[in-house]
Subunit: 221 residues, 2 copies
Amino acid sequence: MPLFATLDREAMHALTAQMTHKTFKKGEVMVHEGDRPLGFTVIREGSAKAYRTTFDGREQILYIFPANDYFGARFLLTEEKVPYSVEALEDAKVCILSKAQFIALLAEHSEVALQIIEAMANRMSRLELVMQSMGSRNAELRIASLLLEFKDTYGQKQGEYLEIALPLSREGLANYLGLARETLSRKMAQMEEEGVIESVGAKTIRILDLARLQELSVLVE
Amino acid sequence: MPLFATLDREAMHALTAQMTHKTFKKGEVMVHEGDRPLGFTVIREGSAKAYRTTFDGREQILYIFPANDYFGARFLLTEEKVPYSVEALEDAKVCILSKAQFIALLAEHSEVALQIIEAMANRMSRLELVMQSMGSRNAELRIASLLLEFKDTYGQKQGEYLEIALPLSREGLANYLGLARETLSRKMAQMEEEGVIESVGAKTIRILDLARLQELSVLVE
DNA sequence: TTTTTTCTGTGATCTAAATCACACTTGTAC
DNA sequence: GTACAAGTGTGATTTAGATCACAGAAAAAA
């Protein structure tokens, strides 16, 4: 677990002993928006999405947590309620540290605290980017930005091109971007026609023209 | 300065001695997006907006910093470049702590570190809310949410009603919400007709029907 | 004060994306 | 393997908000 990589063997063992382990099936909800936090949660296997349900019934996805990512640090320290629901995107195994244990860990190991701050900072920086791109209501720009964001986490050089193993269905992508599913479909089809991307099955996207994608994400068409 | 309220007299004096003081006139830019950070900056007097300029020339306002607020903690710790420009909304006096000084302060006074984390958490929580409300492209909802957000910071009981001293012009508000200025104007006029709000001059809004405003911010019209 | 500039409101028009509707495809369950 | 469900693509239509255009108001400068 990269987060605890800095801990020595003993500290690591002590920590492991304290943790609660849980498994969730695909589609199961780990915490519901408004619940009391179950604790600081590290996703060992699988992945999850964090979302809020809006007044009109849509779900707005806020974060995707890949394997080895974690959640709960922020709202464990400041809030008494969970600000979003977290649902497993695939079968998942997680480790949970209670609030008291987590705070003790931070107090004892300031390296871990620093890493948490850094992760928070990165998420903020992403949220700021999202705010910027949502400010413009340009669907293509938002899609291009999303693909570039996913590239780093889910992309892999596959032969000549970069392939992204999407963590979400088309519907999920639309909910992440705050777009209608149909709009996403149409725009992606259009990007495929233009030779920027190529879909390989439902959950894989191949980037054919990275430079063009970067342009789309920044320039006006 | 509330941030340093926990420091004892000595520590406070030592800190004050280290700080650089600067003044900015209304409209002056304190830091430009992309610059090297000037340091951790506390706004003693006046207020400021943090924004990014988008490809199409619009400015997307990300944060408003009122007096006694601060910025720079997040990107001082993780990034080498300033992620947004900060411009004084009124004549402003600021205190600046260099990166080294700031890090030393955090190391010595963990209470301050905790307060910073808390502030970061609050900003994240606001960004998440913004992401949710921007996901729905409903202008009225976004305006209502903004007014409620400002209510806490800039609102004051004035006789029977709550008055908000807006920190931004209509144009600024529109840039904060990612709306066209005209749309904001029209919607606010409509809300005024409906008796939800009342504008008192350009920079003051009176909330007449708080309950209705809260409904608008959450429910579909 | 007068002048100039910036800001704001409002009508007319345009447009990108939402919504509706439905066939098709893929995946899961039985 | 078949049956059912969920997910997806695509056309037709609607609509909220953007854009354009301008006049009046307010603020800043002279």
